[in-house]
Every structure is written in structure tokens, then in C-alpha cells.
């Protein structure tokens, strides 16, 4: 099939103070096809897309559309040329409803003033139907889960009838079934001749969905070709310039005794029903327990219950056989439970504080005599963890917001480890970080397990849960719907269990 080139960048260079984010790149965007863009964090993918979407302007070089040079001075400019973008960071108004968010700045009006709510609602419902999601147009976006918010963002772009649609990591918060739905929507759009740019860290996914691939490294394009014959090692080679790091299990170690048990945990959901529905599980020292499930399956809520975030949760927890009576987070940390939250930016870090201050926030008691903090001891402890977790930092006094996603995640992990936990809860530990950092995070997890920690980690990445877990628990609709040992788990069985009581059967086709 022939795919005409809809947009080109020629000799595109973008200089930020101190860095060259793009080094003279040539990029072709083909219409009616999925143009995949891949590279490590900071490789320049997002910068290039911001140029196309009119957020940033090139320092040198030109953007051509249909052979004519174009200049986008704003996102409005780009939108007028039919370019829509779904940013990695969600740009939604939490207090407005789904419908209001989708039609923001393009409200459907009567006589140019009066907002036609019913028309917006109907259009939103149609969009949601197309995306196969049952989200009420009148729900405030803030009450939706991150994955659902991403769906709203995608709906917003669809509503603009974009000719070129840029999706920056659209699947990072979606579960397998939702990814399937998204892929079907993408196939539809392709058929309509829309040019799609697709950025993701999930390589298997890219190979499946992509028609053309462009690999970026340090602001330069290191590989660009049609997707035929591309495999994961080829992408990785171009991305990081060396052979793939495998994060599969390397050493085997015996498990210790049971270190943690949850009995009959229930958490009522707002609007009725149970978000966590009679969940019981146990964890042994040195074991990595993977919890897989669709978005909204109650995985995150379960971890929050363990951490003491929901005081109306019922059920009992046991740490090393003794019941966990502490109600608040501090008490639970003291008992040896630590959480690495899903939403790094909002739940994991205090962005304006220094790296040092973030890392020690949960364990300040270790440096404190009565009320006096020993800052020197604190610094040496942080330096120790920075080295151990190979966090790349210029200075531990810099604000944590100056770090890339992967390094921020390592700071969060460092903070959790500093509390000397016995049980580590990790919610989507690899979300939004590049493949190099991911491998390091996984290696750290294995190492911690070998040291005798019990780890419960939640993920929507099938490959991750299959290769990293000693045991897999699948949740669906707040309940445990499957439990597999390392040896017996198959992808098909795990996916089938994750969809119990969910979605129609045709989504359950195993992944290719």
C-alpha cells in the first residue's frame, strides 16, 4: 500500500539553553499509516512532536506540509492544519465534566453564546461508544482513574477530526483490553487516511501497531524504515546502541516464611459496590508477587488499603503473623510496609523539595536525636542510596523536578527503601520510564527479593508480569479471579482471568 507523506521535517534542530534536543533531524510523517517513534527518555521524541503540534518552534530547519513550508506559532495554528496531539502529561480540567473537557475552547453553542449541553453530551456519548468505554459525559474528570482520563484525552483529539494525530504514550495507563480497543480505533483512523504518530516505550506493542518506525537517540535519528522485518533487538540496538538487557529472572533463591497476609479486605466504592471485594492473599519473604488486572480492577485501591489510606476499609492484615493494628500511614511504615505509588508526580514526590529531602522524607527519624536532625548523616545516607540505585544526579540539593522520569522513580524507590521495609508495594513501577531505567528498576527488585524482602507489584504490562513475578495474582472487578505459579502461568490464562465479569468475549483473543 502506498502512504503519501503528509508532513516533513527537514534539518530540524532545536536548541534549549544548555542542550541540543534535536540535531538536524529529517522526519517523514506518512498519512494513512502509524508512524512509530521510539527512543529513551530525553532522546527528543517529545520535543519533535511539540514542534509538529506548534508548542515549540525549531531553532533551525523547516516543517513542510504537502510540499509547502509551514510555520506553527501555537497549538491553534497546528490544529487549524489538522494536527491533534494527546500529551503524555494529561491536560484536563479535573473539576469540569467529561463533555466540557472534550469541547473546551470549541464549545458547541447556540447563537455563539449559549452552550448547547445536550448536543455536547450526545457527541461525547458517541465518542465514548466509538472508544468502547462506558464513561458518563457528566462525570467530573477528576473522579476518573488515570487510564480513563487518557481515554478522554483521546476522545478530545478524535472530536477535532484531526488529519494528523499524535499519541504520546497513550497506553501507559491502559490495560490489555483497553489497548486492544485503542488499536481498533487506530485501525479505523488509518482507513480514513489519518496519519498517526505513536510514541511508546512498549516495544512489542510498537511492532504490532506500527507501519513505519523512527528511532531517536540523543536528539538524532538512528534508524528510520518501514516496520517490515523490524524486531525488538533491532529497535533496542538503535535506541541504546548495544544489545538488549534482559530483565528475566537470573538467580533462584529459596523463599522465607510468610511475611504478610491480607484477610478478607473490602473497600466500598463511591456510588455503591466494592472497589476491593473480599481480597485475601499471602506473601512470603523473598517472593515477588505480581498483581495483574485491568484498569479499575481494584489493584491500586488494594495497595492503598494496605498502606492505610482508606480508613473505611474492612478486613485484617498480618505482618509476620501479628495483626496490623496501626491505622495511619506512619504506623504502617514503622511496621515495615512501604509503597511506591502509581502517580509519581502527585503521590510520590514533593517536586519543589531537593532530591535529598525527598529521599529521607519517610525515614527522618533515623537521623534525629530527640528533635535534632544530623544533616551530615542524612547526606551520607542519601549519597549511599544514590550510588546503590545508580541515580544520575548533578547534586542532591537540586529540586527533584529537574530529574527525568526514570531517575525520579529511583528517588521514590530510595525513599521507600530507606524505611527498611519488609514488604514493598510497587504500583506500576515501570510506568513512563525508559527501557534502560526499567531494566535497572527490575534488577533492583530482583536483588531486593534475594535479600529477603517480600514484593507485591501491580502492573498492566503482561510481559512484565510474566517475566518478573514468582507468582501472579489476577484481579478483576475488585476480586481475585486467578492465581498462577511461575511455571503454570500462560498469557492466555492470565488475560482470560483479568476479564472475568468484564467486556465482551471478542476482546479476549490472545495478544499476537
Amino acid at each position: 500500500m502506498d502512504h503519501p507523506i503528509g508532513l516533513q521535517i527537514r534539518g530540524g534542530t532545536k536548541v534549549y539553553p544548555g542542550t541540543r534536543a534535536l540535531k538536524s533531524v529529517d522526519f517523514d510523517l506518512r498519512m494513512g499509516a502509524v508512524n512509530v517513534l521510539v527512543g529513551e527518555n530525553g532522546a527528543g521524541k517529545s520535543t519533535m512532536m511539540k514542534v509538529i503540534a506548534g508548542v515549540e518552534r525549531l531553532t533551525e530547519g523547516t516543517v513542510l506540509m504537502d510540499g509547502h513550508e509551514v510555520q506553527f506559532n501555537s497549538t491553534d495554528d497546528a490544529a487549524r492544519h489538522g494536527i491533534g496531539i494527546v500529551f503524555q502529561e494529561l491536560n484536563l480540567f479535573p473539576n469540569m465534566t467529561v463533555a466540557e473537557n472534550i469541547f473546551i475552547t470549541r464549545e458547541k453553542t447556540r447563537f455563539g453564546v449559549d452552550i448547547d449541553r445536550s448536543a455536547q453530551r450526545a457527541a461525547t456519548r458517541a465518542l465514548m461508544q466509538r472508544l468502547e468505554h462506558d464513561i458518563d459525559p457528566d462525570t467530573p474528570v477528576g473522579t476518573l482513574r488515570v487510564g480513563q482520563q487518557q481515554i478522554v484525552e483521546i476522545a478530545k483529539s478524535l472530536s477535532q477530526n484531526a488529519r494528523i494525530l499524535i499519541l504520546d504514550e497513550p497506553t501507559s495507563a491502559l490495560s490489555a483490553a483497553e489497548v486492544e480497543i485503542l488499536f481498533r480505533v487506530i485501525a479505523d483512523l488509518k482507513r480514513d487516511g489519518v496519519g498517526i504518530v505513536y510514541i511508546s516505550h512498549r516495544l512489542e506493542e510498537l511492532i504490532r501497531i506500527g507501519d513505519y518506525i523512527t528511532v531517536l537517540r540523543d536528539g538524532a535519528i538512528t534508524g528510520a524504515r518501514s516496520m517490515e522485518g523490524v524486531d525488538v533487538p533491532w529497535i533496542v540496538r538503535n535506541m541504546i546502541g548495544e544489545a538488549s538487557k534482559d530483565f528475566a529472572k537470573t538467580e533462584h533463591h529459596p523463599y522465607g516464611p510468610e511475611i504478610f497476609r491480607a484477610e478478607d479486605i473490602c473497600l466500598p466504592r463511591i456510588g455503591g459496590g466494592l472497589a476491593v471485594d473480599h481480597v485475601s492473599l499471602s506473601l512470603r519473604a523473598g517472593e515477588i508477587l505480581g498483581v495483574y488486572g485491568l484498569m479499575g480492577a481494584g489493584r491500586t485501591e488494594f495497595l492503598e488499603c494496605v498502606m492505610g489510606r482508606h480508613d473505611h476499609a474492612r478486613g485484617q492484615f498480618f505482618v509476620e503473623g501479628t495483626p496490623l493494628r496501626e491505622k495511619d500511614v506512619a504506623g504502617r511504615i514503622a511496621r515495615g510496609i512501604a509503597l511506591i505509588p502509581e502517580d509519581r508526580k502527585n503521590d510520590g514526590l514533593v517536586q519543589m523539595l531537593a532530591i535529598r529531602e525527598n529521599m529521607t522524607l519517610s525515614s527522618l527519624g533515623d537521623f534525629t536525636r530527640i528533635f535534632h536532625m544530623d544533616l551530615a548523616a542524612e547526606r551520607s545516607r542519601v549519597a549511599d542510596f544514590v550510588k546503590r540505585l545508580t541515580v544520575k544526579i548533578a547534586s542532591m540539593e537540586n529540586p527533584v523536578s529537574s530529574l527525568s522520569g526514570g531517575n525520579q522513580q529511583k528517588v521514590v524507590i530510595g525513599k521507600a527503601l530507606m524505611t527498611k521495609p519488609k514488604i514493598l508495594l510497587m504500583d506500576e513501577p515501570s510506568r513512563g520510564i525508559d527501557i534502560g531505567a526499567k531494566a535497572e528498576v527490575f534488577r533492583t527488585m530482583r536483588q531486593l527479593a534475594a535479600e529477603g524482602l517480600g514484593i507485591i507489584f501491580v502492573t498492566s504490562d503482561l510481559e512484565e508480569v510474566m517475566s518478573l513475578s514468582d507468582r501472579i495474582i489476577v484481579m478483576s472487578d475488585g476480586r481475585i479471579t486467578g492465581e498462577f505459579d511461575r511455571g503454570t502461568a500462560t498469557e492466555t490464562a492470565v488475560i482470560a482471568a483479568s476479564a472475568v465479569g468484564h467486556a465482551p468475549a471478542e476482546i479476549l483473543e490472545p495478544l499476537a
Partner: protein, 354 residues
């Protein structure tokens, strides 16, 4: 300064030097104000004037210290001015009447006891603020606006709007030393200045060397993340509002002692001066950032500016205008500093080669 701030990359060879200047801006401003007035206003540099001026500054500085903690924690305390008024009235009442038990006799207190009771009253109002905010989920602005009115009204009610005069105390009850809080001096410095030094050191120590201080910054920077890290957010808030109330109570004591009288309208709009001093000192209104040292310097800039202008004979209307302009300029420069600082950090990070 503002000129340099708008073109930092072109003119300043090293952004680090510029950053240093920007960081010390309030201090530089203080020096400039000082130099200006010592030239423009006669007697400005005399020892007597210095003492008078620092007494003025101290009142605002106490409130500003308490306010700084509250703002760093992400809140605001509008009630401090009213707490000053209320605490002044409580002090006056205790000195004049003691506590009447209704049996024909009353309990009289000595100066130390009076001070302790007044401080407890200030801290109690702060605790009410904190409970409204944490337990009942009232926005800090509204909660403290409410207590502002309640305290002011209570102060008025205590005397029907009249002044408690002649707070000389009685030697018999040990309250005759009440005057010394405002009028006494030790090693050549007024007692109120010694108190300010003590409170400043205490607050600066809490901010930089105790977990409590670190938690205040964390709560203001990101309350959710702080809570998930095991910080007891409600307790931290209880502390900052009670500390703010405590500072206001000190001011109430000092004012009523200095004037040897207490008037229920004392402290009106003091909260705004306190906020201004904190902001001038680099405290961010969105929480998570600020320093006690900066706030003290900020309080001095405002105090020196207004006293100096009075000595120069500038009309009070112009004084108000100038004060407003200084505050706005401070925040504008603060924004420039934040931008530059973020860029320097990013560059250092980029230099690592990711």
C-alpha cells in the same frame, strides 16, 4: 536588578553569580533602603532611632515568623491581627481584674502567669483554626477569616469597645512587672528585641534542623505525597497554626505593655503586614518554599521603609503606595529567580549527559 533579570543569558556570564544576587535581593534591598535613609533622613542612624525602629519592626516580625510557617505549609492565617487584639484585652483584663469567681472574690495573677495564660489563649485560637481546617475541611482562608471576626468581636465585647487603661499592675499580686515587657531592657536592648531574637532562632532551628520543619515544607509542597510518606499532616497543621497564634499572643502582650493600656482595635490589618513581610522574604504563597531569615529581612525592609518615610515627612498616602509597589516588585523578582534557578538545575542535570 530587574533589568538584569530580564536578560540573564546575554549579560551575566555566569548565571550562578546572578542567582546569588537574586537570592540575596531582599538583603540588598534592605541595605539600599538603609543607605538611602541615612543620607536622606537626619537622625536616621542615631542609636535612639535604631531602638525605636527595631521595636516597631519586632511587632511585625513576630507575626511574620508565625505566618511564614503557615504559608510554607500551604495555608494562610488571617486571624493573627485579631488574636493580637484579643490577647491584649485578655492581658489587660487579667492585670486589672484578675479572674472573678463570682463568690465575692477573684484570683489575681503575677506577670509570668498572665503571660502564660495569654499565650495559651493565642495558641487555643490557633488550634481552633487548625481543627476547622483539618477536621471540618474549611479552606484556610475562610476558616481564619471567620476567627478574625470572632476574635475581634470578642475583644470588643470584653470591654464594650473601651480601652483598659493604666495597666501598671499591683506589686501585691506580683503583676507590677507587666510594664517591663514593653519598657524594660537588658544589656542595652529592649526586652521585646530579645524575645524576637529568641523566637527567630527557635523558628529557624525548627525549619532547618528538625523533622517537624522538614514536614512543614513537605506538606506545603505536596500534601498527598507527604501523607503517603508517613507525615502526619493534621499534626503539622495543628502546630503551624498554634505557633502562629503563639506569636500573635506575644505581640498582644508587648503592645499592651508598651502602651500600658489595651484597646480592642489593636492589631487591625496587622495580618496583611505579616503576609507582606513573608512574601518579601521569598516565601511562596503556594507553599513549600520560604525561609525564616528571609522573612526577618522582609519585615525589616517594610519597617525601615515606613519609619524612614515618616522621618522624611512623606505623606502617609504615598507611604502606602510605595509599600505596595515594593511588595509587587519583590514578587516579580522572585519569579525571575525561580525561573533562573530551575534552569541552572536543569543545565547541571543535562551536563550529566542523561
Amino acid at each position: 536588578m530587574s533589568h538584569a533579570a530580564t536578560h540573564p543569558p546575554a549579560q551575566a556570564g555566569s548565571p550562578n553569580l546572578l542567582l546569588l544576587i537574586l537570592k540575596a535581593r531582599t538583603f540588598i534591598a534592605l541595605i539600599l533602603v538603609f543607605v538611602f535613609f541615612s543620607i536622606a533622613a537626619p537622625n536616621f542612624l542615631s542609636a535612639a532611632n535604631m531602638v525605636i525602629m527595631s521595636k516597631h519592626v519586632a511587632l511585625n516580625a513576630f507575626l511574620a515568623i508565625g505566618m511564614t510557617f503557615v504559608i510554607i505549609s500551604g495555608g494562610i492565617d488571617l486571624s493573627v491581627g485579631s488574636i493580637v487584639g484579643l490577647c491584649g484585652m485578655v492581658a489587660g483584663w487579667l492585670v486589672l481584674y484578675g479572674v472573678d469567681l463570682g463568690l465575692g472574690w477573684s484570683i489575681q495573677f503575677n506577670t509570668l502567669e498572665i503571660c502564660l495564660i495569654v499565650m495559651l489563649v493565642g495558641m487555643a485560637v490557633g488550634a481552633v483554626n487548625a481543627l476547622l481546617i483539618t477536621r471540618l475541611n474549611v479552606a484556610p482562608f475562610i476558616a481564619t477569616l471567620g476567627t478574625l471576626y470572632v476574635c475581634r468581636g470578642a475583644a470588643m465585647l470584653s470591654s464594650d469597645g473601651r480601652t483598659f487603661p493604666n495597666l501598671n499592675g499591683t506589686a501585691e499580686y506580683g503583676s507590677d512587672s507587666f510594664r517591663l515587657i514593653g519598657a524594660g531592657s537588658f544589656l542595652g536592648l529592649p526586652v521585646s528585641i530579645w524575645m524576637l531574637i529568641a523566637v527567630t532562632l527557635l523558628a529557624a532551628y525548627i525549619a532547618s534542623r528538625t523533622p517537624l520543619g522538614r514536614f512543614i515544607y513537605a506538606v506545603g509542597g505536596n500534601e498527598r505525597a507527604a501523607a503517603l510518606s508517613g507525615v502526619k499532616v493534621n499534626r503539622i497543621k495543628l502546630f503551624v497554626y498554634m505557633f502562629s497564634g503563639f506569636c500573635a499572643a506575644l505581640v498582644g502582650l508587648i503592645v499592651s505593655s508598651q502602651l500600658v493600656a489595651s484597646h480592642p482595635a489593636t492589631g487591625d490589618t496587622f495580618e496583611l503586614n505579616a503576609i507582606a513581610a513573608a512574601v518579601l522574604g521569598g516565601t511562596s504563597m503556594s507553599g513549600g518554599r520560604g525561609r525564616i531569615g528571609g522573612t526577618i529581612v522582609g519585615a525589616f525592609v517594610i519597617g525601615v521603609l515606613s519609619d524612614g518615610l515618616v522621618m522624611m515627612g512623606v505623606s502617609s498616602f504615598w507611604q502606602t503606595v510605595i509599600k505596595g509597589l515594593v511588595i509587587i516588585a519583590a514578587v516579580v523578582v522572585d519569579q525571575a529567580q525561580q525561573k533562573l534557578q530551575a534552569r541552572v538545575a536543569l543545565q547541571a542535570q543535562a551536563a550529566l549527559g542523561k
